[in-house]
């Protein structure tokens, strides 16, 4: 606190604190890894939440320091790579953009950590492995640390470290119950899908990094952005290549067309994970990356256009799918994809402030919605459990089955009576998402729509349609879950969640309500804040027409949803159960609705167009090229036989003939020589005597004639 007071009074310089946003979560996870096995659940959860909370405190201190020194600072921790002129450091960029993300990640992260203490307490018991409680919080802290590296780095390589780190945590947490799911491998398959899809995107980021190294000779934000205009003049295609490759990374991480398919499957993870990673923070990393690289994107308007169109198309496409989903989390997942589309479209149009603003607002209300949906799911599970363990009740109730999907909205209904608090916060989240005045989503979405109407008409129309669908599917969801009659005994006996879960919900509901105040028209607090980092901003003034159109669209959608899912749905309930459609839209839209339920068969399309040929190619490579060509032919025939032939030649021809021949020849020659010499040895004494005599004569002759 002393630090804080000093900070406020002196115009402080607390930028040196920035590495701690990474270190604190790491310390937290280390404590939990080493001691967590002996600690009770509450303590493990508290340590993890504290680690995240202290990181938030650090982020707040950084923000306070930024108020007086808005240009920020780069805090270097260590040198990492130095090759000739090229160097990369472990350095932290403190500026308004990174600190905004830090505040968001650690703030929302802390709330979700606290929520998780309550949620995971039940989740680990439902899934029958209470020991995994600690592991969850270790992963969560690891995620916070990785995300902090991502948002606080001052160069693209360190950013990529965080980028991969959050991908890893995402994988680990989607597969948290890896032995569960469809056929016992469903969750593991979902985790693998997320990993592989993200790898494709990461390949794009890597390519961008390579291009950047080629074009700029540096990966530091500062150097790259400074050089951007001159490089754009000399070789604009390099910047186009960088930004397009980066866009591929964004489509992977931020779940845009064509790589969005992993995000809905990622709902296999525990619900707090869906809230933290797959709604509020990690998936927005792509938006952050584009906003961070604003200096590059503004050099290439064509690429910006592509980004905006990708975002808008995703927003519309995912919104249509969300209409046809029955899984409460799947609806939210597609909604997230759609909202990420809004953000990407915004940053693509150069409306970086609007994109970042929507990112924050979305983190509030989508985090809230996911957490509340987790509360709903556990409430229903509690109801299910209640009925399951009451034999008398079980007999009196009809249609109670052991196999029961607590996430299917068709099994819900009427929950507003049993889960009052969850209902109210969910309603707030839904209104914020639908963009109803005065909730946060209204302001942020309105800014994006306003920018779109000024810059790009097709994008504007797509986003408007997406906004219509957003309001519609949220109305559908709220009505299906909370209104009408309970459609299952589990929903009938659902119970409200404990305070550790509801308190974060209330805080997030509050933030979702007032979050719009960050960047009210006319004040542009957030806009000016971010402008310190991203220049080239033009803040369009609030246009009543656009706001009115957006609100009108949302209201129409809500009315339509109410008519369909309240009036019409109740009428349909009267029908005998055999003829009763589970959704009023099934009658109205017919085959289109089937397409929506099946997500436009995109997964099947990918299966057919990419995965099957890819598998066939892999099989061909494995069986034909690798096995038959390399192994059977090349290794067996060419190398092995060649080697055998060479060895045969060496042993048979060279060793036997040449080496042995030489040795034997020497022996033979010696033998023959000795044979001829032995004839001299007659054995007759007289011969020896003669030899001695002749020898003597020779010696004497030599001496005499010398």
């Amino acid at each position: 606190m002393l630090l804080l007071e000093e900070a406020v009074s002196n115009g402080p310089q607390l930028f040196w604190l920035v590495p701690w946003v990474v270190f604190i979560p790491v310390i937290g996870l280390l404590i939990n890894i080493i001691f967590g096995i002996r600690l009770p659940e509450k303590v493990v959860g508290t340590i993890a939440s504290l680690a995240s909370g202290l990181a938030f405190v650090v982020a707040v201190l950084l923000a306070v320091s930024l108020v007086s020194n808005p240009e920020g600072e780069v805090v270097t921790l260590a040198e990492w790579i130095r090759i000739g002129d090229f160097q990369v450091r472990w350095a932290f960029q403190v500026d308004t953009l990174s600190v905004t993300m830090m505040l968001l990640v650690s703030g929302v992260g802390t709330l979700i950590h606290i929520y998780s203490i309550g949620y995971m307490h039940e989740d680990v018991r439902h899934n029958g492995d209470p020991k995994r409680f600690r592991r969850f919080f270790v992963y969560m802290n690891l995620f916070i640390a990785a995300m902090m590296i991502l948002v606080s780095s001052d160069n693209y390589l360190m950013l990529f470290v965080g980028w991969e780190g959050v991908g890893l945590c995402s994988y680990l947490l989607i597969g948290f119950w890896f032995e569960k799911g469809k056929d016992g491998i469903g969750n593991a398959v979902a985790a693998k899908k997320a990993m592989v899809t993200n790898r494709i995107g990461d390949f794009g980021v890597l390519l961008a990094l390579f291009f950047m190294f080629w074009g700029f000779g540096s990966l530091d934000f500062h150097t790259v952005f400074e050089k951007a205009p001159e490089v754009a003049e000399a070789a604009p295609w390099i910047i186009a290549a960088i930004t397009l490759a980066m866009l591929l990374g964004v489509t992977g991480k931020s779940a845009q067309i064509p790589l969005y398919v992993w995000l809905p499957d990622a709902m296999a993870g525990p619900t707090p994970v869906s809230a933290l990673i797959h709604a509020a923070t990690m998936v927005t990393a792509g938006v952050y990356l584009i906003a961070r690289s604003a200096e590059l994107y503004i050099q290439v308007p064509q690429v910006q256009n592509v980004v905006a169109l990708v975002g808008a198309a995703t927003a519309l496409f995912a919104a249509t799918i969300a209409v046809g989903q029955f899984d409460i989390k799947k609806v939210l997942a597609y909604s997230t994809v759609s909202q990420l589309g809004f953000m990407v479209a915004a940053v693509g149009m150069g409306a970086f402030v609007a994109g970042m603003f929507h990112l924050i607002a979305h983190a509030f209300f989508k985090g809230l919605l996911f957490l509340a949906s987790g509360s709903v799911i556990q409430g229903v599970e509690r109801g299910h459990h209640h009925v399951e363990h009451d034999e008398k009740l079980k007999k009196t109730l009809k249609g109670h089955s052991h196999d029961f999907d607590p996430q299917d909205m068709r099994n819900m209904g009427g929950l507003r009576h049993t889960m009052k608090l969850t209902f109210w916060v969910y309603l707030i989240g839904a209104l914020a998402l639908a963009g109803i005045f005065p909730f946060a989503g209204f302001w942020s979405k309105d800014e994006i729509l306003l920018d779109a109407s000024l810059h790009n008409q097709p994008v504007f129309i797509m986003l408007l349609l997406a906004a219509f669908l957003t309001a519609f599917y949220m109305t559908r969801q709220v009505l299906l879950v909370f209104f009408g009659k309970s459609r299952s005994s589990a929903a009938q006996y659902a119970k409200e969640s404990p305070p550790t879960m509801t308190i974060p919900l209330i805080i997030l509901a509050f933030l979702s309500t007032v979050g719009g105040a960050l960047n009210l028209p006319g004040l542009h607090t957030f806009g000016h804040w971010v402008e310190e980092t991203i220049e080239h901003q033009e803040a369009p003034e609030f246009a009543l027409v656009i706001a009115a159109i957006a609100s009108l669209v949302a209201l129409v959608a809500i009315l339509l949803g109410w008519w369909l899912y309240s009036r019409r749905y109740n009428q349909l309930q009267e029908l005998p159960s055999g003829k009763r459609p589970d959704d009023p839209l099934r009658q109205l839209l017919g085959p289109v609705f089937t397409a929506l339920i099946n997500k436009w068969w995109v997964d099947e399309l990918y299966q057919l167009v990419i995965l099957r040929p890819y598998a066939a190619l892999s099989r061909f490579l494995a069986e034909q090229v690798d096995w038959r060509f390399w192994h059977d032919w090349f290794h067996e025939k060419v190398i092995a036989n060649g080697y055998i032939g060479l060895a045969y030649f060496l042993s048979d021809k060279f060793d036997l003939r040449v080496i042995d021949g030489a040795a034997n020849g020497l022996a033979t020659v010696t033998q023959r020589f000795a044979g001829s010499l032995r004839r001299i040895q007659t054995g007759y004494v007289r011969n020896y005597a003669l030899s001695v005599f002749l020898g003597l004569v020779l010696i004497l002759a030599y001496l005499f004639f010398r």
């Binding site: 004839r679 001299i680 040895q681 054995g683 007759y684 004494v685 007289r686």
Partner: protein, 100 residues
């Protein structure tokens, strides 16, 4: 006084004859005797020169040779007896164990 050449001539003739005998005869006893004669022809040369130059060392040498020859006779005759005992012959051509 007989000139020294005469002694030397006799010595050469004697030596050549008995050397030839050693080389061509087969009886071990006769070969042995021939060897003794070779020593004696050498002795003759020694004493002839000793007389001519009036040096006593030549005559002393002869005594040594005679002593060695006496010893040699003892060994040589023993060998011949041993050979005769094993081979029942003293024909040197039959003693050819060194034949290669």
């Amino acid at each position: 006084m007989v000139p020294v050449e005469y002694y030397l001539g006799l010595s050469i003739v004697l030596f050549s004859l008995v050397a030839l005998g050693v080389l061509i005869l087969r009886n071990a006893i006769i070969i042995f005797m021939s060897v003794e004669l070779m020593l004696n022809s050498a002795n003759l040369t020694f004493v002839a020169f000793a007389n001519q130059y009036q040096l006593i060392s030549g005559q002393i040498f002869v005594f040594f040779v005679m002593a060695v020859a006496a010893a040699e006779v003892a060994v040589g005759l023993a060998l011949i007896v041993a050979i005769f005992q094993t081979k029942q012959s003293i024909d040197v051509d039959q003693i050819n164990l060194l034949k290669g």
